[in-house]
């Protein structure tokens, strides 16, 4: 997908694929082109070049695909009641009045939208408004779910409810693509991730692979939270320290990892010893920094 607005390149030959049945995280810094890409998938933006294919068919030629779209900001009618809003959205998607009403009540119950369906949207808390928006996105049982920051402004309990709903839809074979800056949530939820920067793809892989074990070690010694036992050991270097947990980098290939364990044991009780697992946030930062640096070089 390629799209420019004047001199600004929003999408630069961006290409990735999303499988049904998995949760797909679509990540990127602010202004990376995520929203434009999502709108292109929804056929709301005409691309300069490129296509969006669903099961091999161009979305411009396949109007029968049911989309559920959740924009980043609250896409709700403030003066309507929650129930009326949900029924209206469902009916626009072709669901008859009776069924739309039944589904609206069901979504209000599942998402526990308080204080209830009769309340005006504007009277709800931000968290409940976001729940209402999620309900409007799911009410017509879309085949493709595109969610822009679905967890924004939600408390942990609300996040759990919505995570469960998204997992359920993915397991039903729906395509679920969402963006989020809450990378710890994405890491725990998504099976696959794409990271974009300045409109182009930087990384596209499974979350499992991206967050695989790193070469760094993690050790926690009860009696030595500051890591004094490594003060004079040149082969190991403490690169990070958090609440007594030491993140250690090995400076020599000639020394075995377990030597760190032996050094720790000589000082006290080992509470934790492991290879460091890379966080998605770390992977994200590294990928963007590297891409920006490459861009500057070019």
């Amino acid at each position: 997908m390629t799209k420019s607005y004047g001199d600004t390149v929003a999408l630069d030959s961006l290409s990735f694929s999303v499988s049904s049945g998995v949760l797909f995280g679509f990540l990127g810094p602010n202004g990376a082109g995520k929203t434009t890409a999502m709108r292109a998938v929804l056929n709301l933006v005409a691309l300069d070049r490129g296509d969006v294919l669903v099961d091999g068919i161009d979305v411009r030629e396949n109007s029968s695909v049911r989309y559920g779209y959740l924009p980043e900001e609250r896409g709700l009618y403030p003066k309507m009641s929650v129930f009326d809003h949900l029924v209206y959205i469902a009916r626009l998607h072709g669901i008859d009045r009776k069924e739309a009403g039944r589904r609206a009540n069901a979504m209000i119950d599942i998402l526990d939208i308080q204080p209830g369906g009769k309340s005006k949207v504007e009277s709800l808390s931000l968290g409940n408004q976001q729940r209402c928006q999620v309900a409007a996105t799911l009410i017509h049982d879309p085949e493709i779910l595109i969610l822009d920051e679905p967890f924004s402004g939600l408390d942990p309990m609300s996040i759990d409810i919505i995570k469960d709903l998204l997992i359920e839809r993915a397991r039903q074979g729906r395509i679920v693509l969402f963006s989020s800056h809450q990378l710890e949530v994405v890491e725990g939820l998504c099976e696959s991730v794409a990271i974009i920067n300045k409109g182009h793809l930087v990384l596209n892989d499974t979350t499992e692979h991206l967050t695989s074990l790193s070469e760094r070690l993690v050790i926690q010694v009860r009696e030595d939270p500051e890591g004094e036992f490594l003060k004079d050991v040149k082969e190991f270097e403490i690169v990070d320290k958090q609440n007594g947990v030491l993140h250690v980098k090995k400076n020599s290939d000639e020394i075995h990892d377990d030597e760190l364990l032996h050094l720790g044991l000589s000082c006290g009780t080992i509470l934790r010893y492991d290879h460091e697992r890379r966080s998605l946030a770390g992977v994200f930062r590294e990928a963007i920094v590297r891409d920006n640096a490459e861009g500057d070089t070019v």
Binding site: G6, R39, L42, N43, L44, V45, A46, D48, Y67, G68, Y69, L70, P71, E72, E73, R74, G75, L76, Y77, P78, K79, M80, Y88, I89, R91, L92, H93, Q133, A136, T137, H140, I146
Partner: protein, 396 residues
């Protein structure tokens, strides 16, 4: 089509249940009622003048009083009083307005250029004088009748003269004001509705289900129906007002206005609501609405002023008014009042109507493209140059 209907229904139900609609409708209905009833109440019913007939009075004298009173829409009642002294006493106390005695003539309490009874007595005195002169002339009854019932000489102008009945003028001015209020109010509602959907981002949710042009058309139809309901309620208020003062709308309102006012309201509504909708799509914030809507408000204002000017002219309308009556956007205001006043023929109005409809068709196509090109551009006001570039490649 089903989605357009759904969008229109939502607009209709949301708008009619809003407090703004209820208040605006109640106020305009009261204004309509007041426009009819208040002048009637303020003018008041003419107070009957009590005429004292002293002694033996010729039977024609009360008829003369009644004839003169009828000319000034005054009612009279007569009392017989035996003596002049009693008549003086009753004039002083105010129980009697005018007294007549064949011996003394006419008596009033005071002689003043502003006193109604004195003015009335003076007018009656002329006719009684004529009557007495006729009595002395020994004429036959037929001759007397001819002389007592003269026909007025026709007055004609050498130039063209606009003769508009006061009721037609009053109704036309009201129709003009109403058209201006309704078109500006409901045009603004369409614009604010578009801005609301854009600023709340609900537009993005809607566009995943419907095409932008369906959304705009549905909104215009929905708001247009609200405007028609509002206009109908004002008409009801007018009918109630007219009935309460003993008039019938069909007697007071010109037939052409009854037919043309709603027709032009619909035509003008389609034109203005489309343009207001497109203008609304160019901005994200309510504060920016005035800047984009001002160019649309100009022809409305021109139409309104031209309509008032046409109504105030006593001769046939000026060339500029005649030209303006064919200008789309101005004609919805001007044409109904000009036809009602008899200064525009129906065939010419049909030509103007056709021009308006064709213009509305092409403008709606342009407005639709502006809407499509602008509606997803959040943030600063969308410039026309950017819209022009988007015309060829944005999603429609």
């Amino acid at each position: 089509m089903n989605q357009v209907k759904l969008i229109a229904m939502r607009e209709f139900s949301q708008r009619t249940s809003s407090r703004a609609f209820k208040i605006a409708t109640a106020i305009t209905m009261l204004i309509a009622l007041g426009y009819v009833v208040i002048p009637h109440v303020l003018s008041g019913k003419p107070k009957p003048e009590t005429i004292a007939l002293v002694g033996s009075v010729s039977k024609e004298i009360p008829a003369i009083f009644s004839q003169v009173a009828a000319l000034s829409n005054t009612k009279v009642r007569f009392v017989s009083i035996p003596s002049i002294s009693q008549a003086r006493s009753q004039l002083t106390s105010g129980r009697v307005s005018v007294a007549y005695s064949p011996r003394v003539g006419l008596l009033v309490k005071t002689i003043s250029s502003t006193d109604q009874a004195a003015i009335f007595a003076k007018e009656v005195s002329v006719d009684i004088g004529k009557f007495q002169a006729l009595q002395k002339a020994n004429l036959t009854p037929v001759q007397k009748k001819i002389l007592l019932s003269p026909t007025n000489v026709r007055v004609a102008a050498v130039g063209s003269t606009l003769q508009v009945a006061p009721s037609t003028q009053k109704a036309s001015i009201f129709e003009l004001i109403l058209t201006y209020i309704l078109l500006s109010q409901y045009g603004a509602w369409v614009m604010l509705g578009v801005i609301e959907e854009k600023s709340t981002r609900v537009i993005e949710v809607l566009l995943s289900a419907v095409r932008p042009i369906e959304l705009l058309v549905g909104k215009i139809i929905g708001v247009g129906l609200v405007a028609l309901v509002h206009a109908s309620l004002i008409l009801v208020a007018l009918i109630v007002g007219l009935s309460s003062i003993g008039s019938s709308p069909l007697q007071v309102l010109p037939n052409s206005l009854i037919v043309l006012a709603p027709l032009w309201l619909i035509v003008g509504g389609a034109l203005y609501c489309t343009m207001f909708g497109a203008a609304g799509s160019m901005v994200t914030r309510i504060e920016d609405a005035q800047a984009v809507s001002f160019p649309i408000a100009v022809p409305m204002l021109v139409g309104y002023i031209a309509g008032l000017t046409a109504m105030s002219q006593t001769s046939s309308p000026s060339t500029i008014i005649k030209i303006l009556s064919f200008v789309p956007g101005v004609s919805p205001f001007l044409d109904p009042v000009m036809v009602a006043s008899g200064v525009m023929s129906i065939p010419l109005m049909l030509v103007s109507l056709a021009i308006s409809l064709v213009t509305t068709y092409f403008l709606s196509k342009v407005a639709g493209k502006i809407y499509v090109a602008s509606i997803l551009k959040i943030g600063a006001r969308v410039k026309l140059s950017a819209i022009k570039k988007s015309f060829s490649n944005e999603y429609i």
